[in-house]
């Protein structure tokens, strides 16, 4: 009941932000110089009437605020408009591409979480010992290296020099393999992992570095907590203190950071998709920009913004689920 109320509260609270995202994107797209119809014509001379017909067809003859309201009306029904350049609904174009991006971002997170939490705990436990210094250096490199450059270097090492991992594309786990036997699926799964490994590491390194530093600080604070002192005084073994008493309270800030970092991860996905030739939303955005396809640019920006907002809401809710002290924000 408490969680349900909190969920509804967060969803309602996010509506103005979601509307704001569409507004900003719409203004940006319409601020851009260049008339869409002229862009379509590639500078050819045509009949005035034809231009007017096309403008009417896409609603370009209406004033800006009416166009925005029309766009919003479509958006509510899941209609992102029509890509003039590709002559396909924007929604269909995005549906084709959203899977790889989500797969990439989620796997990068899995990589980041699986590596950062043990390393962060180790650094906290062995504070100011060599293990701690090494983890600090790794974190420093992680936050200072451009993700796309890590990607390029990984390709050079593992694809070009060693030739053990593919350098481009993804194999999608949701596609049925040609061989539908058990071993066929196993081989398919192996193929998925092989293709995912390098882009996952390239995108996940920054997340790993930031999470590791937060985990370390949190664990250090947690290990100095009264409850840990009490547990130690009772003679609870040190391993158990670490795993049972110190670990859980330290994880709460991590959840928030994960949600907020989704912003950098989604942005980074654009670069990683470009480096690894992955047909995701990021590449679609770059293609749309090259084609100056405003409808498509708008659609992608809005969807990426929405994914981020929803991601933050999900992390907030899981935070509230884990920490019963979280209120509905009414005291704020």
């Amino acid at each position: 009941m408490r969680l349900l109320r909190y969920t509804i509260y967060r969803l309602v609270q996010s509506i103005p932000v979601l509307i704001g995202i569409t507004l900003i994107t719409f203004i940006l797209a319409n601020l851009a110089p260049g008339d869409p119809v002229q862009l379509m014509l590639h500078g050819q001379e045509v009949d005035e009437d034809l231009v007017r017909t096309v403008e009417e067809r896409y609603g370009l003859d209406q004033p800006l605020h009416e166009r925005y309201l029309n766009y919003m009306a479509g958006l509510v029904q899941g209609d992102f408009g029509h890509s003039i350049h590709r002559d396909r609904p924007v929604r269909d174009l995005m549906l084709d591409r959203i899977g790889p991006t989500l797969l990439l971002v989620l796997s990068a997170y899995v990589f980041a979480i699986v590596t950062s939490i043990p390393l962060g705990i180790l650094a906290a436990k062995r504070r100011n010992e060599p293990a701690d210094h090494i983890s600090r250096i790794v974190a420093l490199f992680g936050v200072s290296t451009p993700s796309f450059w890590i990607g390029i270097m990984l390709i050079v090492i593992f694809s070009v020099t060693l030739g053990v991992l593919p350098s481009s594309g993804l194999v999608y786990p949701w596609r049925t393999p040609a061989d539908t036997s058990f071993f066929g699926y196993l081989a398919h799964f192996y193929d998925v992992l092989r293709h995912l490994l390098l882009p996952m590491i390239a995108l996940g390194t920054l997340q790993m570095a930031t999470l590791m530093r937060v985990e370390r600080t949190q664990m250090i604070n947690s290990l100095q907590g009264e409850y840990v002192k009490l547990a130690r005084a009772y003679g609870v073994p040190e391993r158990r203190v670490l795993r049972k008493h110190a670990f859980k309270p330290a994880q709460l800030p991590i959840i928030t950071i994960i949600g907020l970092n989704l912003s950098t991860a989604l942005g980074g996905a654009v670069l990683i998709e470009y480096v690894f030739n992955i047909n995701g939303m990021g590449r679609l955005l770059i293609e749309a920009i090259q084609e100056l396809d405003y409808q498509l640019i708008m659609g992608i920006t809005i969807v990426i913004g929405f994914i981020f907002v929803i991601g933050v809401i999900i992390t907030d809710i899981s935070y509230a689920y884990i920490d019963p002290r979280v209120t509905y924000g009414e005291e704020e």
Partner: protein
Amino acid sequence: MSIESQSEVGDGSGGGTENQYGWRYTISKVLEDTTARWGLYVVCVVLFISAYTAIDSNLSVITFGRVSDFTFAEALPLLEDPERIPPPGETDGNQPPVFHADGSITHPLGTDPDGRDYLSRIVYGAQVSVSVGIFSTLIGLLGGTIIGAVAGYYGGIVDDILMRSVEIVYAIPPLVLIIVFTVLISGGSPDIQFAIVGVGIAFIPVFARIIRSEVLSVREMDYIEAARASGVKDYNIILRHIIPNSFAPVMVYATLQIGVTILIVAGLSFLGYGAQPPTPDWGEMLRVSHGHMLSNIWLSIWPGLAILITIMGFNLLGDGIQDALDPQIDD
């Protein structure tokens, strides 16, 4: 969390002389920290290089159109004009670096596919990165300070409207927002100045948030009350009392932010929406060398290392300042 504790340091000092002491104390604490000192060295070297190359490339302008006989590049004979593409036959393209069997000392890092000296391009590339980092951070700082201070000082509906609209900008991932902004504002022909403005605007929200939370505590101080009672105008209160007293934590953030902006603009240039050829820029160089990855891998390594070292310098320095200002972290 840490910001609040920094504010205690910042406005606890109160008077002008004590504040000065505070800054001096901070600087000496930063210099005590070995890693922060190294960060400072790196930042100083990068700043020096970019100032040097900026003066060098503008020298002919300074001497009123006369082609000057002396350039700094002559004083440092290894450097060449980073933008001039040598005519065919003069220099080979794609030369390996000096420690390679086919390398030569005239081009210590080799040459790019057009035959330009790569060391010169890397060195001149510092200019672009540093100006991007500093100018876009300044734009974010200025916009964020104004919005955050006004929102925090007036509160109520002004606060709500300003902070909500700022949060909306924050909700679009920066890189995506910056790409879209840069390309659309420039009408499809992006360049570095659009990128700088785009990055600056995208980072207004974070600065606004930090300033606002500081202002909320400064606003309650007695001296603000005193200023208001003696009839000082609102904008004077904000400009002379509120902003100077809530600035310290933002400065820490700004130092760290310079690294982030350099990182983002490198990505932007890598995609082709930042600096345009023939400008020597690390991100742009990585974009070009991406196509020559198989024939000459060194071209992809040097600019990446340059970005890595620069950002690391800013990060170490920023961390050092943060530690010096925040006594709670005792590492």
